[in-house]
């Protein structure tokens, strides 16, 4: 028996899940936006401030040494969690957005030439489009969108067909935040590798839901964010092949990223510290370490199995609702559901669902090109996590029916 089988005990570890919203128990279906935090994470953050607060990697006193151990310990935990080969491959960042910008500016821009191509799918989050556009605009390179299908799946052959001698990087989301689609990233990574094209995988929506093994994937860059992984905001990572990190120039200059500074010339620290200037979000990363410990104890396989069950229950429930149109029908999908409802705007549904205690996201989910592909300005998105329940799915369905009656 896995710990996750006692779902009441699991939920009791997440204090936010006990909240009453407008007189109703909170049904938190906005996990793709940000996940709730277990007591263990909150206690780790609080414990850092109340017991260990000191700066990392420079103070030799006890508090500084404790802070450094806890902070660097989080890097080691993350390394094991994603199956990276060494701790030097883990650059701690503020999140996925910073990780991708780091690759765009430090890895790609120095060698990008006019006519070079950056290939990304049409289902990317803006964070995996706009940084590439910025460096492309500076250098005369172009960002090429790879096609998706009406089901909201990647057109794998279409993406591979767009790889050519001008392609300098392939960027692809592991799991679509807007559609829930799980992409066949290994196929794309292998196809790109066969053409000596580096790959960047956006794992923001994947890491919270199933086991990641970056060494087996053999991608060049894997990026993720901590706040969707039950950790504090302002934490994330770039997991990169060591050879790339050695070759890349620093992205931001400052303290901690240097070896020796003089006005005649400055030499830089080794990776990953070369890319981590200034005092980092120490408490946040200690929280991330605690989140990973917590996930390891519950087990990612048990989490994935429970979420697969919840996904199937939710999918059946959504199919039963007349006038509701699910956007995307990927055969491999996470428990993330975008939908529109006849005669009701996504924002109205989301505000009124909140009145029933149900938290969902509405809008474009930072995926304008995906929304344009489906001809929609906005959708409602319900995204589940392992701590959600079948009773919550039933409460969501009842609340949605009530909202529709109001707007009719």
């Amino acid at each position: 028996m896995s710990r996750i089988d006692d779902i009441d005990a699991i939920r009791a570890e997440f204090p936010q899940l006990a909240r009453i919203i407008h007189g109703k128990p909170l049904v938190y279906f906005d996990n793709a936006n940000t996940a709730q935090k277990p007591h263990a994470v909150i206690a780790a953050v609080s414990g850092y401030f109340s017991e260990h607060n000191g700066n990392v990697a420079r103070a030799v006193h006890t508090l500084g040494e404790e802070a450094t151990s806890l902070y660097e310990g989080a890097r080691d935990k993350l390394m094991r969690f994603v199956g990276a080969r060494s701790r030097e491959e883990i650059v701690l960042t503020r999140g996925t957005t910073e990780s991708i910008n780091l690759v765009a500016y430090s890895f790609l821009r120095p060698t990008l030439k006019p006519g070079d191509e950056i290939l990304v799918s049409r289902m990317e989050h803006h964070a995996n489009i706009v940084p590439w556009q910025l460096v492309a605009a500076e250098t005369g390179a172009i960002v090429v969108p790879a096609p998706i299908t009406d089901r909201g799946e990647l057109d794998v052959d279409g993406m591979i067909a767009l790889m050519n001698s001008r392609t300098r990087l392939v960027g692809l989301t592991h799991v679509s935040n807007a559609l829930g689609t799980i992409n066949p990233i290994k196929t794309i990574i292998d196809a790109a590798a066969a053409r000596a094209i580096p790959t960047l995988i956006d794992g923001s929506q994947a890491a919270p839901h199933f086991k990641i093994d970056v060494a087996a994937l053999n991608c060049d860059f894997y990026v993720l964010t901590g706040h969707k992984l039950f950790a504090p905001t302002g934490t994330g990572a770039l997991i990169a092949k060591r050879a790339h990190l050695d070759a890349m120039p620093p992205f931001m200059g400052g303290g901690e990223m240097i070896r020796r500074v003089s006005f005649e010339g400055t030499s830089f620290n080794d990776p990953p510290h070369k890319f981590e200037p200034g005092t980092p979000n120490i408490a946040g990363f200690i929280g991330l370490g605690a989140a990973i410990d917590w996930l390891d104890a519950v087990g990612m396989d048990a989490i994935a199995a429970r979420e697969t069950h919840l996904r199937d229950v939710m999918l059946s429930a959504l199919h039963e609702i007349p006038g509701l149109r699910l956007i995307g029908a990927a055969r491999e999908r996470a428990a993330v559901f975008s939908f529109v409802v006849d005669g009701a705007h996504a924002h109205d549904i989301a505000t009124l669902l909140d009145q029933e205690g149900v938290a969902v996201r509405s809008g474009h989910h930072c995926t304008h090109p995906t929304m344009q592909f489906f001809g929609l300005p906005a959708t409602v998105r319900a995204s589940l996590s392992f701590y959600n329940t079948e009773a919550e799915i039933a409460a969501f369905v009842a609340a949605l029916a009530k909202v529709r009656r109001m707007l009719a």
Binding site: D348, T351, P377
Partner: protein, 139 residues
């Protein structure tokens, strides 16, 4: 901390949304403006027929949420027969209401609860932005 029970979707707002006033295209428009809500991608167009210093007619078009639709319906009603300067005054009154609570007058008071929904204030302001854009661009 307890969540505030919302009165945003009042009967006034829902009635304007169900049967919006002045929805459609305006023939012989002299001014036409567009505004977009970056948060949801909503797109609203607003047209005026201005004679002298008076808005003789105002119509809006677009596919938007209930808050934007109701606001556009109320705004186009309020502007008929008014001077174009009235748009900025009404917008300022809306902003005051978001900060300080309801101004006890007309249908716009229905939006007072937006002070508790900062993310939705933009929805109610969208028709005002389209109206201001319209004043700056002639047909």
């Amino acid at each position: 901390m307890s969540a505030h029970p919302s009165t945003l979707y009042s009967e006034t707002v829902l009635a304007h949304n169900r049967a919006p006033k002045n929805c459609g295209s305006l023939v012989d428009a002299t001014h036409h403006g567009v505004a977009e809500n970056a948060m949801c991608g909503d797109h609203l167009e607003l047209s005026f027929r201005v004679h002298g210093n008076v808005i003789a007619a105002a119509m809006f078009d677009g596919d938007s949420c209930a808050i934007t639709t109701a606001s556009a319906s109320m705004l186009t009603e309020a502007l008929r027969g008014a001077s174009p300067a009235r748009i900025a005054e009404l917008r300022e009154e809306m902003l005051m209401m978001f900060r300080a609570g309801p101004l006890a007058r007309d249908d716009f008071a229905a939006f007072a609860d937006l002070c508790h929904h900062p993310a939705r204030q933009r929805c109610a302001l969208l028709p005002f932005d389209a109206a201001i854009a319209a004043l700056q661009t002639k047909e």
